[in-house]
């Protein structure tokens, strides 16, 4: 992922916006210091999460970061090594999966191959012993919701990947659970279908108002769909926040680098004023000036992060004192909607700057081996201490 898209946040009219800002609202799902070891190897470490009713929450991380294990703990397929799990105020830590008000949509969809679409969806309701008439009504209700009614008599192996995914979603919706878990729901779909399905899934979630927790390794998917997301690394939760918070205010170099691309400059604090911190970087010829958001004293080493789209690139020499460098365009990546310029600084470090291609006809002024200036506004950079 080299391109940045402006994160869009789904509208959710039914519920309070940003319930996590409102201290009067109780969280719906609470994980308290949840840990899971496999033969002493930690998979999930000391997870504490609050998730509110109606949220679309994502667990994001590289493969092996423990996000799937966390999901399986929520579903009840794994027993936690320590810690507690509450759903709707009830302690669910030791409740087996068949007694939890939680349904899962599996990455492989896990449709029962010997049952038709209708029987697949009715299976969960049959376990509750509902009358036949009601089962049928509810099955067709969700089939309508996912637009699969006309395939109700087919067997799963006669359906396309996208259709199977809809059936899997319908099957997890039909029991009206308090929580739906989605394990990489788009992984088996091709790129085009994936983008369409992302918005549809969010729409369906808004319609039914059920809390969704999704596991994904695709940061773009997590950003576009979630109300909030948790970034995980090696079993630990690195940061929790809205897509906007995660993108613009990463709390670590790992998160900053994992979500989108970023330029990082290591340096030492040389001066602190009321609003600004001055930083000297060995790789840069000019000092950096960043808004104060750190408690690191003078002389402490920090990392300054700037997103490529926040960088300005041009042939005119900037007039201000801080936050600019001279360099040579080493490489240009053309992406259609924008281009990414790799600028090599005299110190040898390369910085990335992206520029939207707003004009269709004009040929870019900037070209290979051209001498340019990169600069940025102080408020567009951020200090990372880890």
């Amino acid at each position: 992922m080299d391109r940045q898209k402006k994160p869009t946040k789904p509208k959710r009219p039914k519920i309070t916006l940003e319930p996590w800002q409102n201290s009067k609202i109780e969280p719906y799902i609470v994980l308290k210091n949840l840990s899971k070891n496999y033969d002493g190897v930690p998979a999930v470490q000391d997870c504490t999460l609050d998730i509110y009713e109606g949220e679309f929450y994502s667990l994001l991380g590289a493969s092996g970061c423990g996000k799937s294990t966390l999901l399986r703990l929520l579903a009840g397929f794994e027993k936690p090594s320590s810690g507690k799990l509450f759903i709707g105020g009830q302690d669910m830590t030791h409740v087996p999966s068949y007694n939890r008000p939680v349904n899962m949509m599996f990455q492989s969809y896990a449709l029962f191959p010997h049952m038709s679409v209708e029987q697949n969806i009715a299976f969960g309701l049959k376990q509750e012993g509902l009358p036949r008439e009601e089962i049928k009504n509810r099955v067709y209700e969700v089939l309508d919701l996912v637009q699969m009614s006309r395939f109700s008599k087919r067997h799963p192996n006669r359906l396309s990947g996208g259709q199977q995914q809809r059936v899997a979603l319908a099957r997890s919706l039909v029991k009206r659970p308090k929580l739906i878990l989605l394990d990489e729901p788009m992984a088996a779909l091709d790129q085009k279908l994936r983008e369409e399905t992302q918005f549809e899934l969010v729409n369906i979630q808004e319609k039914v108002g059920i809390t969704f927790i999704m596991v994904t390794h695709d940061q773009e998917e997590a950003m576009t769909m979630s109300s909030r997301l948790a970034i995980m690394e090696e079993g630990w939760i690195q940061q929790i926040g809205t897509p906007h918070e995660i993108y613009e205010f990463p709390n670590s170099a790992y998160v900053a680098d994992f979500i989108g691309s970023i330029n990082l400059f290591e340096g030492v604090i040389t001066g602190v004023t009321k609003e600004m911190v001055n930083i000297k970087c060995p790789m840069l010829s000019h000092t950096l000036s960043v808004p104060t958001n750190t408690t690191v004293p003078i002389g402490g080493s920090v990392t300054v992060a700037v997103r490529p789209e926040k960088l300005e690139i041009g042939i005119d020499k900037p007039t201000y004192k801080h936050n600019w460098e001279e360099g040579i365009i080493e490489d240009i990546g053309y992406y259609g909607d924008m281009s990414i310029y790799h600028v090599k600084l005299p110190s040898g470090q390369t910085v990335m700057a992206s520029l939207l291609n707003l004009d269709r006809i004009s040929i870019q002024q900037l070209t290979w081996n051209q001498s340019v200036y990169v600069s940025w506004q102080p408020e567009n950079s951020i200090i990372l201490t880890t």
Partner: protein, 266 residues
């Protein structure tokens, strides 16, 4: 280029001839009118007629069918339980021993299984008075012990290749473990269960060694009858029987293959 290499194909052809020539010869000679099978005495269905008169043989066949049915069902039941225990349960005490015990009868010479069971039955009879008479049930026990290992070999592989998320999905939808087993797992692996049952049935229906050891007076199985006849040389009646037998099996296999091929979406 490699696929067009003729040598393996020629050997394949020769091998198939090797496998089928004797069977074709049996069928051919079963219609021979002569008393000595090796001399052609003209076409006749005489031996089929005599075969149908042979009540002793048909009685033994009926006994064998009953034994095969019982032991195959028992073996499938026990073998499926063992496979479930080995693939679906968290490790338990003595699992390794259990795992090797379930397949040990596969490599055990039949003659030892038969002898050891007979010695067991004799000792048991002395100690607790059971089994006072060897026959149907002692043969069934012998066949079940042998064919159970084959059932485990088939069902266990199927279960370990089984997509476990399907079972998890059922649990997740509120089905308790026993319901998951009956409504999800067993229906999906039913072809493997059937294959295991069929194999167990054939093993029992075909066995002569274990039966000879574990049978008693009045419980002669079909292979025991055939064995005692062909031990003394060629018997044209057995030719006729073999032809009928081969024809029946071929029909069943072809039918099963046809059903399987038809089901597969091509």
């Amino acid at each position: 280029m490699l696929k067009s290499n003729l040598f393996p194909k020629i050997i394949l052809g020769i091998g198939l001839c090797f496998l089928y020539l004797p069977i074709l010869i049996i069928i051919f000679y079963s219609f021979n009118a002569a008393n000595f099978t090796s001399i052609w005495g003209g076409f006749s269905t005489r031996w089929y007629y005599e075969l149908f008169q042979d009540t002793y043989l048909w009685q033994a066949a009926w006994t064998s069918l009953k034994i095969a049915f019982t032991s195959a069902t028992l073996a499938t039941f026990l073998g499926t339980l063992a496979s479930l225990a080995l693939t679906r349960f968290s490790p338990f005490k003595g699992q390794r021993l259990f795992s090797s015990l379930t397949i040990a009868p596969l490599v055990m010479p039949e003659i030892i299984i038969g002898l050891s069971l007979l010695l067991l039955f004799v000792s048991l009879n002395i100690c607790i008075g059971w089994p006072s008479k060897r026959g149907f049930w002692t043969i069934c026990i012998g066949h079940t012990t042998l064919s159970m290992a084959y059932v485990v070999a088939i069902v266990r592989v199927r279960l370990s290749h089984f997509d476990k998320t399907i079972e998890e999905a059922a649990l997740d939808l509120g089905a308790k473990p026993l319901r998951v087993l009956t409504f999800i797992t067993l229906p999906i692996i039913s072809p493997a269960l059937f294959a295991g049952w069929l194999l167990a049935f054939m093993l029992s229906f075909d066995d002569v060694v274990i039966s000879s050891f574990t049978s008693g007076a009045g419980s002669t199985t079909l292979p025991m009858v055939i064995f005692s006849r062909i031990r003394t040389g060629i018997s044209p009646e057995i030719n006729a029987f073999a032809t009928l037998f081969i024809a029946t099996i071929t029909l069943i296999i072809l039918l099963l293959a046809w059903v399987k091929l038809r089901k597969q979406p091509v």
